[in-house]
Assembly symmetry: C2
Homo-oligomer: 477 residues x 2
């Protein structure tokens, strides 16, 4: 991409990674970000419209690894805390509390908890060290013409004394939009590309909480788990931070939030105490109530669109192309994978960007739609199924097959999504096949189990000659 | 709405009508339109992104009628040409041409062909005569804050010598967005309201043609029909104009358009001649080819969104809320009905705009989604089913019931959609019920038809005593 000018819109983790990929390929890279530089912590309020509580897994790591600089990956991994499994917190009908650890993977692979800001800082610092990258903060895209490859940005520079913000016009060869679920790139692209687009809000709000370290300065609960308090229609989760606190999220239907917002504080505490056992040991009741009141109650959006590009001039990646609900922990991982796939296509068609982007759209829309659906489905699993005996049985059988018969190539859908780089659409195909085989095996087992006693009774009846007058449906010896 | 400032965005037929409704209720109305005043024909190129070929029916007329000024309605109706039915043009496998007239309605009700520009002019002229309405053309909405009720417009005044367009800030009490399928109002509203939104392009492009009057200055084909040349996967239609020309539209799959764009002119002519018999008698072959090349090939979009409002500050109507494919001829009619419903809600809750808008969203999203689905379904009917014997039989039976047993309240779905003001969702409910009854009747008829011969044979057998030894399953006399 020597001599090409690549504009990246959005300096979040996915946009930063895209800029690194473009820079390594020799492009002149300019990154335009609507907000302030988040490294200037004084001027940037915590961005509560995006989760600061992320799970980094293989697809994200592979995206970083494929950028080509091992030190960058190491710097990111240094910011993470391994989570080897889920810790499921429940209370029985008699009131007894239980904690059950469910390992993620029989081969010891794990998720990593990472602070969004910390990850972003590492990427931005690295970007700033690259000679062919320029960063522009407080630049809001106001328009783009993707036929003549021009874009306009409004500069909200606070030092300016003019009453109207300055506007700049920028030419480019390729624009990469990584500007999130409410992407301006996508909005302007949709004026050029005939785009099928769906956005839907699910009946679920979320509110963030912090669980502080203990008085002795240690983690309040196991740091190497993703903690879940499943409660049927709602749930509470917690992920560890490097400073030994936990970032927690309460998810629930809109109606539950409305009710809790109206009712006295005790309603919230009663609910949390009943369904989230142990929580009030670690977050003081007063603190819990004030965090619920102070922190915003935010919606969850699911976005599908196609195509992800227009001609040879613009392409969207990450949440801009495929915002999903957070229940598979794949949002950022899928975004980083999108960057890797995009540049593999650009490498494959070095002299035909239009062809590369078209190929990217074909592959990536299918996979993006698949993981969006899986993420929606996992909401049910996290709130409810993790505690069901059938779910546990299936997990046990599938993991045993994976562990003891590795040559079968058996794996759970979860481990293929989280610990492999198999295309999401293929993961679902494999899972479907496995489900069919598993159902067949279970049927055979059931037949065997049923036929055993029947055969025994039959043999016993013949041998003991107790039933001389009974007619057997099959020939007697 | 005395003393309230109502901003209408979009000065098309639906926006103009909304401004009239607001003006009559005493509001201070300001209308902001992106484009030039279409009445200054010299500066406004024909807007080819919207069809200029419209069918006005009861819902649109009722919207105009309910505005309260009979002269306005008369002025609009003077611009229309009645179409009493469809004229179906086909060619048999042997090459024989046929034309078949299918009346729209047994009670003589009809569609009206109207030029979009002519209709718009009447409304704008009337708007301009109202003292409490101001019109602003070449004003592009660039932003809106629906909490503080402020909006920003960029003025693209060509007389200005400044290199950057002027921007104005406008306060309002209520904004009504009638700015079409690519609505800026909706875009900005979606930043405030949690909106479920779907847009999809169907596999169909369209291209407009003009069929000139004959050399003697008359209509080339019957002026009181909507002409259809159905051809399975594609079709051609023609609607009469007051100047005795016809506005025609060719609809077909994307792939067919791509093929015709590449192939020699003769391919287009061969196709038209084979499937659209008689057309080349009225549009000269050279003209047909040059119109296909000159006029744009445009897509069709289907939009569903919910809600249609945010709090008490903004509401969307017409294509901005429910752009649909044109195959039921209901796009503008539904838009004008939306205006009527919106103001009926505002009248119902004079002191609670938020309640009025919420009530509008509940009623109107359901109906808008219904007509969007019906419009999609009608594409199949127009291209194909109008020629099928079963379709004709059902139309005949239903229309006969309507005509000869009016007390039954029977009516075709088409006539309820086009000639009544019943809610679209109720139309579909009625059609479902009628379909069930009709199926029952047809079954009973079939049973009767089958039982007739059986009874005859039975009676004959008894009478002739030919079959003394045959055991009848029912008692013999």
């Amino acid at each position: 991409m020597e001599g090409k000018k690549v504009l990246v819109v959005g300096a979040g983790p996915v946009g930063s990674l895209a800029a690194i990929y473009a820079s390594i390929r020799g492009a002149d890279v300019e990154v335009y970000e609507l907000r302030n530089d988040l490294r200037n912590i004084d001027t940037t309020p915590l961005n509560f419209t995006k989760s600061i509580n992320l799970a980094l897994s293989e697809r994200g790591i592979n995206g970083l690894r494929s950028a080509g600089n091992p030190e960058l990956l190491e710097a990111v991994l240094a910011q993470t805390i391994p989570m080897h499994g889920r810790m499921i917190h429940t209370r029985s009908p008699t009131g007894a509390r239980s904690e059950q650890s469910q390992l993620y993977d029989v081969h010891g692979r794990f998720q990593r908890s990472v602070d969004r800001g910390a990850l972003n800082r590492v990427l931005l610092d690295y970007l700033e060290s690259l000679p062919n990258v320029k960063l522009f903060f407080q630049h809001k895209m106001t328009g783009a013409d993707f036929r003549v490859k021009k874009a306009w940005f409004e500069v909200s520079d606070r030092s300016s004394t003019s009453d109207r913000p300055k506007e700049v016009e920028v030419n480019f060869d390729l624009m990469i939009g990584a500007d999130g679920a409410h992407s301006a790139t996508r909005y302007h692209m949709m004026k050029f590309a005939r785009t099928d687009y769906l956005q839907e809000y699910i009946d679920c709000l979320w509110c963030e909480f912090t669980m502080p370290p203990t008085e002795s300065g240690d983690f309040a609960i196991s740091p190497n788990h993703l903690h879940i308090w499943p409660a049927g229609s709602f749930m509470f989760i917690a992920l560890p931070n490097l400073d030994k606190s936990f970032v927690c999220t309460f998810f629930g239907p809109v109606e539950l939030f409305s009710r809790l917002e109206k009712e006295p504080d005790s309603a919230l505490l009663d609910l949390f105490d009943k369904y989230f056992p142990g929580l009030t040991d670690h977050i003081k009741p007063g603190d819990l109530v004030s965090q619920f009141k102070r922190n915003p109650h935010l919606p969850l959006i699911n976005i599908k669109c196609s195509p992800h590009h227009f001609h040879d001039s613009v392409v969207i990646v990450g949440d801009a192309a495929h915002a999903m609900v957070p229940f598979y922990g794949q949002g950022m991982n899928a975004g980083m994978e999108s960057v890797r796939v995009l540049f593999s296509k650009l490498d494959q068609f070095p002299n035909n960007t239009a062809e590369a982007l078209a190929s990217y759209t074909i592959e990536r829309t299918e996979d993006a739609h698949t993981i969006a659906d899986l993420a929606l489905g996992n909401y049910q699993e996290m709130r409810h199924s993790v505690t069901s005996p059938l779910y546990k049985l299936r997990k046990f059988v599938e993991e045993s097959l994976d562990k003891y018969f590795p040559s079968l190539g058996w794996a759970t859908q979860y481990s293929r999504v989280s610990f492999s780089n198999m295309r999401y659409s293929q993961v679902v195909q494999h899972s479907r096949n496995q489900k069919r085989i598993l159902s067949g095996m279970l049927l055979a087992l059931a037949a065997l189990a049923a036929s055993g006693p029947a055969a025994a009774i039959y043999l016993f009846a013949i041998r003991s000659r107790l039933m001389k007058n009974v007619k057997f449906p099959w020939p007697r010896r």
